[in-house]
């Protein structure tokens, strides 16, 4: 049965936006990593709910940005992931945050079947974020990582200097690594002899990342899922043996499925994994992203920096006061 969307998730009126920015919002809620670089960033605004058409805005201080938001109460506010010498012209690119966009409405294998977003898919998005962060920290050794709740999902924003100057091609490789977009090799050679080692028997490096993502996918499979090169029978069989994956009994699972069909299933999962994040956001060096602390007017939720992702509940923590004061 399809779940209904939460009643909170309906658009904010102009009056509600004004109330939010004038009575509830505080400029200090803009994370420090943005406030301290206001001068170098481009800002964009959507005043009418038709997309961010008011671009190339710059502010000489966080206080001027505060006044603008208070007075204009925009439908949506954005800031660039890029730092520029001349942000008004998007000229003199210095560096960009490395960003991963996990949108609850676009993730593969949603358990809810809702039209937009709901508690269930938002929670799934949160789980995915936790897992991606583990890889960013544990494998890639990145530390300056901020998670922002966007209103319909999460942005992971990495500000480690070592990655901020990287071009789109390197970013594409990072995305593919952390989401498990390719099935790892299973043949390794030593002195002319080839050995077969499946990803699940290698508890480190990329094969391990892929195993974690594949485990998540198999445990969230439903019969309705369409996977490239995977027929319904194979999906059904994978679901039937889910318990084995839960217990990390991959070898037995592979035997039950059969090695050729297993390979086909893994290829399907790898291509499904491409949907875990919106990759074009990660490779775009000049993207603007929703400004944390601003209002996502379409769903009446606050975009906000999340300090503890493990315990974050958007329906507790990101609902503006005006929603509770609504009469209907």
């Amino acid at each position: 049965m399809e779940r209904e969307e939460s009643p909170i998730l309906k658009p904010a009126t102009l009056d509600e936006r004004r109330k939010y920015y004038r009575e509830e919002w505080d400029v200090k809620e803009i994370p420090e990593f943005i406030r301290e670089s206001v001068l170098k960033r481009e800002f964009g605004f959507d005043h009418m709910g038709r997309g961010p058409n008011d671009r190339y805005r710059v502010f000489r201080s966080a206080d001027l940005l505060r006044k603008f938001l208070r007075y204009r109460a925009p439908f949506a506010a954005y800031s660039s992931v890029a730092f520029y010498d001349k942000p008004r012209r998007r000229d003199g690119w210095i560096k960009s945050e490395l960003v991963f966009d996990v949108d609850a409405k676009d993730i593969p294998l949603r358990m809810c079947g809702c039209e937009g977003v709901c508690e269930i898919c938002l929670n799934q998005a949160r789980e995915i974020v936790c897992s991606l962060m583990d890889t960013l920290k544990g494998d890639l050794g990145l530390n300056d990582i901020h998670v922002v709740y966007s209103g319909r999902g999460y942005h992971i924003r990495v500000l480690d200097e070592s990655v901020m100057k990287m071009d789109s091609d390197v970013r594409a490789q990072i995305v593919k690594y952390i989401i498990g977009a390719e099935v790892p090799h299973n043949e390794y050679a030593e002195e002319g002899v080839t050995y077969n080692l499946e990803h699940f028997s290698i508890p480190f490096g990329y094969p391990h990342v892929f195993t974690l993502r594949a485990k998540y996918s198999i445990l969230h499979l439903s019969e309705a899922i369409q996977m490239e090169g995977v027929n319904q029978k194979l999906v059904k069989d994978a679901i039937k043996h889910q318990e084995l994956i839960k217990n990390d009994e991959w070898g037995i699972f592979r035997n039950k499925i059969g090695p050729i069909r297993y390979q086909r299933l893994m290829n399907g999962i790898a291509s499904l994994n491409m949907g875990l994040v919106d990759a074009k956001v990660s490779i775009d060096l000049k993207r603007i992203l929703r400004l944390p602390s601003s209002l996502h007017s379409m769903v009446s939720m606050k975009s906000m920096e999340v300090k503890n992702i493990e315990n974050f509940d958007p329906f507790e923590d990101a609902v503006p006061r005006f929603v509770y004061e609504r009469k209907d």
Partner: protein, 441 residues
């Protein structure tokens, strides 16, 4: 013991060999020492005088010719180039390396097919030379070279250039806490407690061992070659006229590449030139067909502007772009822009109209971006006077399509053989032509 410079021409030893070269005029002079070394090389075929280099310039050209023939000529005879794998040749080889890189740098720059061939040839040569060595000798040599190229602790971010140029893929590396694991001690410290039911030593040998070290070393030297060509190119733009000898050598290099391309096709592609001709929708790949039907969900802009416009314009006007690797303008092929107006734009606009909602209904400004992607600047009309203000975008690769527009990628059998939708189109065109020729017979 093989000298380091035999593998790494950028080593101090290699640079010293160049410094000792002396008079540049001697490069064309017959060199008895070189001829003698070549003739003495094991397995070298000395029956054909044409396969023996007589001077430094000859040696440089043979070095590149080896790669082009090895890659493309089905009747390649390794015995004609056996001396290239003989460590005795090191000094001549290093000079040949610098001559080639400098000639390519001054004349063609880093983004040319010549530069690509040079970088790839250096990679293949290193691989072949390492393959001739005993395991213990190879291990010592690789360790020695890597020590000079890397610090003790190597972060993956150190390989930014290699990752960007796709010489190395991130999943090929074993990374822990940001560090690349190369040594057995580091491997054991990081992973031995996690490895169950298997021998950690064996795991190290299989997953890291010699081959990752060799891979990193080889790719780093290839990247250094590319960077060196780029530096020479930049320098030659700022400074005085390049040495005529290098320009002359560059012409010869170009000839070798063109001859091989004409005979066998460059980059492993088969068949000859593909000329501009009316579009054949039957040959379009599945992703293009999907966009032509109109995009019903998100990603309309990217699909029409970034994906479809470059594909259709190149497929119609310059399908050979990747094979020839020469930058052209739309007007070089379509001087009156009649094809653009009467054939390409109607198809693009039609696909935009079929989107849901129609693209130009809510975003009429996107017409300007279509013009921009064909090189005509940010203007509402396509006019020759604006050509060159923006770049004529080449078609997105399949890899980019998967990242930008993952929902478009529904590969069929042909897709498995190509890396760009335009290559699909060319391949299919040939198949269709082949079928038609066959049926006429």
């Amino acid at each position: 013991m093989v000298r380091v410079a035999f593998i790494n021409p950028f080593s101090e030893e290699g640079r010293q060999m160049v410094r000792e070269l002396g008079n540049i005029k001697s490069l064309y002079e017959e060199n008895a020492h070189l001829i003698n070394l070549v003739n003495r090389s094991r397995s070298q075929d000395i029956s054909d005088e044409g396969s023996i280099p007589h001077n430094h310039i000859d040696m440089a050209l043979k070095r590149l010719e080896w790669y082009m023939k090895k890659k493309n000529d089905p009747s390649f005879d390794y015995r004609k180039y056996a001396y290239l794998l003989d460590p005795e040749i090191t000094k001549f080889d290093v000079i040949a390396f610098y001559l080639l890189s400098q000639a390519i740098g001054v004349k063609f720059g880093p983004n040319s097919r010549e530069s690509r061939a040079m970088v790839e040839s250096q990679g293949k040569l290193m691989e072949s030379r390492l393959g001739e060595l005993f395991k213990s000798e190879k291990r010592v040599l690789v360790a020695q070279i890597l020590n000079s190229l890397l610090m003790d602790e190597v972060k993956w971010t150190f390989f930014e250039d290699l990752l960007s140029s796709k010489k190395i893929k991130l999943p090929d590396l074993i990374i822990d806490q940001g560090n690349i694991i190369l040594n057995k001690e580091d491997f054991m410290e990081s992973f031995s407690s996690k490895i169950k039911h298997r021998d950690p030593d064996k795991m190290y040998n299989l997953l890291v061992g010699d081959h990752i070290k060799e891979l990193i070393m080889t790719k780093m030297i290839m990247q250094k070659t590319e960077n060196y060509i780029s530096t020479v190119y930049e320098k030659s733009r700022r400074e005085v006229e390049p040495n005529p000898l290098l320009l002359e050598l560059a012409e010869e290099i170009s000839k070798i590449l063109s001859e091989t391309t004409m005979s066998y096709g460059y980059g492993g592609s088969y068949g000859g030139e593909v000329k501009a001709s009316p579009l054949n929708p039957k040959a379009f790949p599945p992703c293009v067909k999907t966009v032509l039907e109109g995009i019903k969900s998100g990603g309309r802009n990217d699909a029409i502007i970034l994906f479809l416009t470059p594909f259709l314009s190149y497929a119609r006007l310059y399908p050979d772009v990747f094979r020839r690797n020469v930058t052209m303008k739309v007007s070089d092929v379509d001087p009156q822009l009649k094809v653009v107006e009467n054939e390409i734009l109607p198809l693009v606009y039609g696909a935009a109209e079929r989107c849901s909602p129609p693209l130009f209904e809510d975003q009429p400004q996107e017409k300007v971006n279509i013009n921009a992607k064909m090189g005509f600047g940010m203007h509402t009309q396509i006019e020759l006077k604006h050509e060159g203000e923006t770049t004529w975008y080449t078609p997105m690769s399949c890899e980019k399509v998967k990242l930008h527009l993952p929902s478009l990628c529904k590969p069929d059998e042909t897709c498995k053989k190509i890396g760009n939708p335009l290559s699909y189109y060319i391949r299919k065109l040939r198949e269709i032509k082949g079928d038609e020729d066959g049926s006429e017979d």
